[in-house]
Symmetry: C2
Subunit: 315 residues, 2 copies
């Protein structure tokens, strides 16, 4: 049945497959290092990513001001990374800021924007969230707008219920086009694929990459793909080519890497690994309230990655 769903699914979105939720490198003053950012994005695309989710949770989006995010996005595209390969996070608790960030992104020709719900107030109603997205869409008022709903309730404390997603799809067909689901719950992802055939469903972890593709989903947008992009792409391609056994074996390898990284604080762990692989100092830096990985943990993680056969894409 999963295979049936996958074969029937028409992917109308302009971006699909394996997306890294790109890390944001910063200098010693904790300002974004634009050159290192472009370099990292280029490496990820070269290593097989179909696209990049930038300024998501992994990209420390909410630790930057809107102006910092805009400057980095514009510089990135100016450096030659195509806007078409980027799915930037443009959410904000403040509606006008989400509008502004989204408009800037659209001018850079992005295939869509990944939007968090406003996440300060807790216990808000679906009506209130619906109204936020309705206002967002109507204020942006741009036919190019494609919104991906960013569901990460463990961070936001505010989630998209299935009925809210249905209501938004009905009210804004062709504008609400997809979701990144970071709830870490396979049942929810498979339900989304089944219940909303018009929704582009990205799993928030490459742990579910193959399962998501098999159920007609669109791919994954994942933090750990910052270091596993080559392998994740191989899973995708083996599935695409119908080499099912190979896809499963590759997915098992990918999942083992993901599981090991998940035992550490994710963003510090990924920044550390990227620093080890590239030799760049910028990966030591992280904005508070996040903290860098301790040396001992970092050594242990790297050694586990090597034991698990992680290929260092950037060496």
């Amino acid at each position: 049945m999963a295979q049936d769903l996958a074969s029937k699914k028409q992917h109308t979105g302009q971006i699909k497959g394996v997306l890294a939720a790109a890390l944001t490198p910063m200098d010693g003053n904790l300002n974004i290092d634009h050159e290192a950012f472009a370099g990292h994005c280029r490496r990820l695309l070269d290593a097989g990513c179909h696209g990049l989710g930038i300024f998501g949770t992994t990209g420390e989006a909410n630790s930057f001001t809107a102006d910092e995010r805009i400057a980095a996005l514009e510089t990135l595209v100016g450096s030659g990374i195509s806007g078409k390969s980027l799915l930037p996070g443009t959410g904000s608790c403040a509606l006008p800021e989400a509008v502004h960030l989204s408009r800037v992104a659209l001018e850079l020709d992005v295939p869509g924007v990944l939007v968090l719900p406003p996440f300060y107030y807790k216990g808000v109603s679906d009506d209130g969230l619906f109204r936020f997205f309705a206002e967002l869409i109507e204020r942006i008022a741009d036919p190019r707008l494609r919104v991906y709903l960013y569901h990460f309730p463990r961070m936001t404390g505010v989630g998209f219920s299935l009925s809210l997603i249905g209501r938004l799809l009905e009210a804004y067909p062709g504008v609400i086009v997809g979701t990144k689901d970071s709830a870490g719950d396979w049942d929810r992802i498979s339900t989304l694929c089944r219940e909303f055939p018009d929704l582009e469903v990205f799993a928030g972890t490459e742990r579910y990459l193959l399962d998501t593709l098999r159920h007609g989903g669109t791919g994954c947008i994942s933090a750990t793909v910052n270091v596993t992009s080559q392998l994740a792409r191989q899973v995708h391609d083996a599935h695409e080519a119908g080499r099912n056994d190979e896809a499963e074996a590759l997915q098992e390898h990918l999942t083992s890497l993901r599981s090991a990284i998940e035992e550490y604080p994710t963003i510090p762990a990924l920044k550390n690994l990227t620093g080890r692989f590239t030799g760049e100092d910028v990966w030591q830096n992280i904005r508070p309230p996040l903290t860098r990985l301790g040396d001992e943990q970092a050594d242990e993680l790297l050694s586990r990655m090597r034991d698990l056969g992680l290929r260092q894409d950037y060496s």
Copy 2:
């Protein structure tokens, strides 16, 4: 013993007593109505508030951009409300934004700033939060800075542990000066009063106003004081004058009003009541994800307030 604590306590902060966490009125396009805001702040001060917490949770701070908050703060002071009576919220998930907001506030002569922890990431360490506040203080680098720690874990999902507060007080004496505690937990407030004699402790609800004052705390900063300011001030003054029985009776009345309002969504309820009392249309408007109170609930609330003898300060 509580009375002993209260009499020994030296309040070094420049603001104390009854503070309303002021609501923010907005026009039909959901932009801040500066004139109505100044009018509301003036009414609250005239009704007995010693000061105002502006752009806190009740003021929908995080639903506004930094520029909107700054324009409103500057216009408010320009309209004749003294900066000395304001304790503005200047927190942000983005460190440079919290720095910028705080600097602007200091130029307006505020007695302090009320700072949320960065609230996007959950499960962050005390080290990470310490580092955020250390960076904030060191980047602002202004001897006038007085920081009040805004503890509201039900909204932020991130709290100030007692050991973190102790560490901050030790590292930045005279800069970290107080806290607004909105955890709704009397035990925590009394512990703060006892364990940190140098900390100005504001209860986040006037329910604990008298108890807080009796334990040497500084007062309250509360949403519901938008409609109960006169009565809250009477509690304060009766306590101050040593009229203990009267203070207790007034506190009981105040608590009954607070308890009734708490049965409704707080901010929509307070905006509605303020609209009823002032006759101003602006109080109908609220930024998503919050939603206005339904007519039926609003009628019921008003009738309960009248039954409970709420004096309409603004009629």
